[in-house]
């Protein structure tokens, strides 16, 4: 985005939520030298492929988990079926995000 028109830099920040740190931790673990399941550049490419509108519609770590999940699906490390079933089950548990 270097050089594109944009507004004033608002000095915003927030204390990261636990679920955001967990997304970050997953990438640290998946990208680690030993495991090497997803490269940092695969993460970045996956974020770019979410499209320009995702930058506005999704938060930073939402884009990360979406990109990581797509890559895990593409590599066959997890399948759509098991992920869909697990997400439905997680939703039924009624937990908070922690």
């Amino acid at each position: 985005m270097g050089g594109l028109p944009a507004g004033r830099v608002e000095p915003t920040e927030h204390d990261y939520a636990l679920w955001e740190k967990r997304v970050d931790a997953l990438m640290v673990l998946l990208g680690g030298q030993g495991r090497g399941v997803i490269t940092v550049d695969e993460l970045r490419r996956g974020i770019e492929q979410l499209g320009a509108e995702a930058y506005e519609a999704m938060s930073y770590y939402e884009r990360w988990i979406a990109s990581m999940t797509n890559t895990l699906l593409a590599k066959g490390i997890i399948t759509s079926d098991e992920l869909g079933r697990r997400m439905a089950e997680v939703g039924k548990r009624g937990e908070g995000a922690g």
Partner: protein, 96 residues
């Protein structure tokens, strides 16, 4: 691996727009600057973006650009600069 350019060499960034995951900023494409240092050989992000960890490494450079070379309407002194990390296959000798 032998580096094609040395610190102090004038280089130009290729004005190219390939698909894929590219880590050459748009604003630097086509611009000329000076090699500030050689960083070493690193995995090529264009290959790593598709999970190919064993692709040949590329020499990475830091190239210093005058702000006025990047933005003709730059609002600041002519000495201001941007340093950008660029992989060797994006650079060619500057012709100017």
């Amino acid at each position: 691996m032998a580096a094609r350019f040395a610190a102090g060499d004038r280089v130009a960034v290729r004005r190219a727009f390939p698909p894929g995951h590219i880590r050459t900023p748009w604003y630097a494409r086509g611009a000329a600057g000076e090699v500030e240092r050689i960083c070493g050989a690193f995995g090529n992000p264009e290959e790593l973006a598709f999970g190919r960890r064993d692709a040949p490494k590329q020499t990475l450079y830091r190239v210093r650009f005058a702000q006025t070379a990047l933005w003709p309407d730059y609002d600041g002194p002519p000495g201001d600069t941007i340093d950008i990390e660029l992989y060797e296959h994006w650079l060619e000798p500057a012709t100017e």
